[in-house]
Symmetry: C2
Subunit: 688 residues, 2 copies
């Protein structure tokens, strides 16, 4: 059952194209200052996290994405891959650095002009100019287009006036704002010559060099959160704050001295989504960060599960190791499989990100596909991380609840990943709308009902091919290609067919259900859309699941070493069959899976999990972390040491003359002796 | 759709028999000292929590369970019901008080003799003698029988010697140990005259009155955990600590001056489980506490969901309220239904607890049923609470992550409930074994494989009737009574039939699968058992789900008011159909549900959730909490205030002459004007 594997070779496959950057990130994560200590108070933790951000700046990695003219290499995935790994230091560091280099720096890079780059970009990416990214408001999170902050141009002074017109327009949850940021990229409604041109980004100084808050600006500290203690989130209110016209980041919308507005993108909706689209990096990196956190949790829980014993099952002395229990295998092995699938899917996402942002293929279509995937993957993966970390924490029992074993901290920090940089529920709807638009042209510009509005015109011109909906466009009955002849439930073709068909049927079913909306009043259309929202979201999850499965399937095919290939096949089947088991009701209801085949799922998964467990240590070794990354007492071998000591004690005790015999054993012996005596008595009687 | 309801009447139904005690608990929870502040340091939080425990002592409630001779009323559920409600103050308080009065005091009450009661019990229940409950060790949590601490009787000195023979035998995670406890009930292997009589409880002083740790005892602080900051957990090591023979809590096992051991229960296994069984109170109260935490989270999230708006869906101005979105309804309404089901099931559990401990029916059978239910309910409910609180936190977006809105704190505190007082996975196996034992006598004493050993002989003599397995004992084919004639998927008979059949088929299926184990070697039997462990655990969950559904169904029948009855029917159907949807694959695979019927589930649930949402406020009002219990900024109405202010601002703006017209609107108008001009031009041309 156990395969003979080389964890380093698996690690090479997992680390992929950006292996070097990942290893750089892991090295940085060894620096003690980057490690959170629950005993530290808020300000100490924030100061340490800032020191970590400065260390990241010192590596030069945040500069890599810049154009060569500014000292960069126009490489976009490198620093993301590297930063993701700093989650092993602390998620606070990953998030605070993400705000500084990805959001603040990234907005200047992608939305600013060359002069603005000269003015602020290098300072931002070297950590000399600390910044915030002030988009979200108390009143509007997911619906960015509806934010209330205004930036009104005054011709007389050649200035914009940034203002918070009511409390709901207060910038909220803004990272770096409570303590460190000297400037912020502020998103506001650009108003000039009596017209509101929609949301644009502005560079707004908020503190002087000494850290004193500038006039007209008030900042409140968000204080304690569910986690991310090292990130200083805050609320910002602007009261008629004046900035030079120069400070409008004007790549997609400029204002001249007379207040005349121009934009390279004519449609206001399209312009807005193009601007937001340049900030996709945040979602890409959260997808990766959630994978790193999941790996770390599994690394800890598997090591403990391989040492910890509980209950004697076979004899009276030897206890059974946790990971030999079927249920323990079922808790951790599917989690490992889905982390592997997510990691290979993330690698593809990074490739696509690099392609778009390096300019290798920045077609509208490719960009939209990247945005769709980033949204959908981020949603699925961050939820996966919460489930995986929680499973790991519970699998470690009470020890899992101790801060020193890190699982609870990871869980608390990752919690917010499900709702920041786009609420997962909203993100899935974005992806769902794209799927519908690919399916049938009339849906491409659908703008009815709730969150569909969120994605506006962005998903307009794409082909069916890119989302992989090969069968889309056919009627439901057409896609029912018979696959039931497949002999084994583990067949990859069967898995793919089931996952694909489910998605296709959902898409075409929803298209049918929603088509009448095109001719309805806005209110009726919204109602119709809303009455299908749950299915709509489920459809997007079906899409991510298929994409992740395909990524793992491809990775399997790439493994030349036959033993490693076999391991990957086990992983792929575990991931695939877990998905099919999760949705088995659907597959049965739609007649895709015969009942007898469906009943094999549970047993097949049991066997697969047992097989994977035999290589559990290889599977987590392959993540590439050491004790200094895990920093969890229970994964250092102490448990085995203590057990050996206890076993020695008992062995020694039993050899002593004064060993206290268990009453149970004594009674057994007494019973036996009594029986023997009776037997003797009967014998003696008979013999008489 | 909206029903006209009286929340107070629903509250009366929910609060049930111990309504007065619940309200007492809620009143106590208003005391400010009992509220945790995330800004407080560890020691301040601990001190405040202790002050809360003292306030609880002052209410006199912990005395109520005592016999009248000691000033009590021999009422056992009263203080549990009351304490559960203190979760609204802080889960730390509920847990620390639970350790003091339920575990420490409870062990003295249930395991001690009258003289011991005189010596310690009143002091414990009035909070004058602070204590710990030292059962778990680093090496053994779930498997209590295997703990390593020894208590060896020395005739010469008439004393027991308490000793920690190796590191794994260190008492671990012991509440009250790090700071406050002056004594501990210590569980240890009782050794006298060269025989080990198994685990017994001993009263061991650990600190003097000033708080100085006594000689021979070392205590280490567990420090930071995932939550429960107010509970001072610690590790205790005993180095040959001597206590008088008197300190053995000897109700189930006594030692005379000569070291002779006697017990009213002959079988060592049965004796052990009887001792542990008296401590069932912990699990009962965690079941209730998890329900209170879930109610509180829903109370906060529903109020916010009824105010918070996001995205315009119907027109360009009015945004849609979160709880009008189908997905939001699907996130929160099934959660409410399952909290209602759990609450009514808990009420039955409390009744059974009162029956057993007051002596009204302390039959072996009734006691075993209580233990089974307490174990199974606690597992299911604590997991439910984690899911519900997390759903609530995410449903509140970023605001849900702020400590000031309490959801993250509740989630962090409740996390450990899934693995303390019995790991949920182990507890479900305990229940599962009972189900098998009820099904067929030969399983009653099954003692193979992993955790089955844990429950030993305890579930021996019970009838089929008590677990409600009316059809058990029949072959699988027999239980397939046709129910498919039922017209509506919402039929209560259909729901019950599906839930019951699933359980019955699982039980008989597992009985068949495991029967060969009876004749196997220990190793083979353990293997066979292990290869069915996952199903075994699923079976126990099917049992709890059915029990909770039945409790809610009964509660529905008890509602005389027709409108309230209708509400309860909606709740019951939502709970029932959610369960059926969750396991729809099973119902289809086993031919219990036709595909067409199964396909109705999703839509029926959508409609039910929409209906329940119309009364969402009534449903949470009925929990009986006020702003001072919720203590969450987002549930106080601030969100609506801010929105009103924003709406006023926009209304006023639009009325102004210098209103900045949105570019979008302008372009629409321009297009229209252009068209009109062209039309005019055409007309003019034509007219020419």
């Amino acid at each position: 059952m156990k395969l003979s594997l080389d964890p380093q070779a698996i690690n090479n496959a997992l680390d992929g194209r950006w292996a070097e950057a990942r290893r750089q990130g892991r090295t940085l994560a060894l620096e003690e200052i980057t490690h959170e200590d629950p005993a530290d108070d808020l300000e100490t933790t924030r100061a340490k996290t800032l020191a970590g951000v400065e260390l990241m700046a010192d590596t030069g990695l945040p500069m890599v994405a810049l154009p060569p003219a500014l000292g960069g290499r126009n490489e976009h995935a490198t620093n993301i891959a590297s930063f993701e790994e700093t989650v092993t230091a602390s998620p606070s560091l990953q998030v605070k650095a993400g705000v500084q280099f990805g959001l603040f720096g990234g907005a200047i890079l992608h939305l600013g002009n060359a002069e603005q780059h000269d003015a602020w970009l290098v300072a931002a990416q070297t950590g000399k100019l600390l910044g915030s990214f002030a988009m979200t408001e108390i009143g509007h999170g997911s619906d960015v287009a509806a934010i209330g902050t205004t930036a009104t141009y005054e011709v007389e002074k050649d200035e914009f006036v940034i203002d918070t017109p009511f409390r709901a327009a207060t910038k909220e949850y803004i990272g770096n704002a409570a303590r460190d940021a000297r400037a912020a990229v502020v998103f506001a409604q650009l108003i000039t010559n009596g017209v509101n041109h929609g949301v644009h980004a502005f560079f707004v100084p908020i503190r002087d060099e000494d850290g004193t808050i500038l006039p007209g600006i008030s900042i409140e500290d968000d204080g304690y959160k569910g986690g991310l203690k090292g990130v200083d989130n805050g609320r910002i209110v602007f009261e008629q704050v004046r900035i030079p016209r120069f400070n409008l980041l004007d790549r997609y919308g400029a204002v001249d001295a007379d207040g005349k507005y121009t934009s390279p993108i004519d449609s206001p909706g399209r312009r807005f989504f193009t601007m937001l689209g340049t900030l996709v990096q945040g979602r890409v990196s959260l997808d990766g960060a959630a994978i790193v956190a999941s790996k770390l949790a599994l690394d800890i829980a598997v090591r403990y599960g391989l040492e910890r014993k509980q209950f004697t099952t076979v004899d009276d002395i030897n206890e059974t190791t946790l990971l030999d229990y079927q249920q323990h295998q079922r808790r951790l092995m599917p989690a490992i499989a889905s982390v592997y699938a997510s990691a290979f899917a993330h690698e593809k996402l990074l490739n696509s990100f690099e392609e778009v942002f390096s300019g290798a293929d920045e077609s509208e279509e490719n960009r939209a596909l990247l945005e769709t995937r980033a949204a959908a993957f981020k949603a699925d993966t961050t939820w996966m991380a919460l489930d995986v970390i929680q499973e790991c924490r519970e699998a470690c029992g009470g020890a899992g609840y101790m801060a020193e074993n890190r699982l609870v901290g990871l869980r608390a920090d990752l919690d917010i990943y499900a709702t920041f940089e786009g609420d997962n529920t909203v993100l899935l709807q974005l992806a769902a709308k794209r799927l519908l638009g690919d399916y049938a042209k009339e849906f491409a510009n659908i703008d009815v009902g709730g969150a569909a509005r969120y994605i506006g015109t962005q998903a307009a011109e794409h082909t069916l091919y890119r989302t992989g909906l090969a069968n889309a466009g056919l009627a439901i009955s057409d896609v029912f290609t018979p696959n039931l002849g497949e002999k084994r439930i583990r067949s990859g073709r069967l898995q793919r067919s089931l996952l694909e068909t489910r998605l296709e049927v959902m898409v075409s079913g929803l298209a049918q259900a929603l088509r009448p909306a095109m001719k309805m009043s806005a209110a009726d259309a919204a109602d119709l859309f809303n009455s299908n929202q749950h299915e709509f979201i489920e459809m997007a999850r079906a899409y991510v699941e298929l994409e992740k499965w395909k990524a793992l399937d491809e990775a399997m095919r790439e493994q030349q070493d036959p033993v490693q290939n076999k391991l990957f096949r086990r992983l792929r089947d575990t991931y695939g069959l877990s998905l099919i088991e999760k949705h088995v009701g659907w597959h049965l209801m739609y007649g895709r899976l015969p009942m007898l085949r469906a009943r094999q799922l549970n047993e097949t998964l049991n066997r697969l999990c047992a097989k994977l467990s035999a290589n559990a240590l290889d599977l987590v070794d392959a993540f590439g972390y050491g004790d200094d990354h895990r920093r969890a007492t229970i994964s250092t071998g102490v448990e085995a040491e203590r057990q050996d000591e206890a076993a020695d004690y008992y062995r020694h005790s039993r050899a002593q003359e004064d060993y206290a015999v268990p009453e149970k054993q004594l009674r057994k012996a007494e019973k036996a002796a009594k029986k023997a005596a009776e037997k003797d008595a009967r014998k003696a009687k008979a013999g008489k």
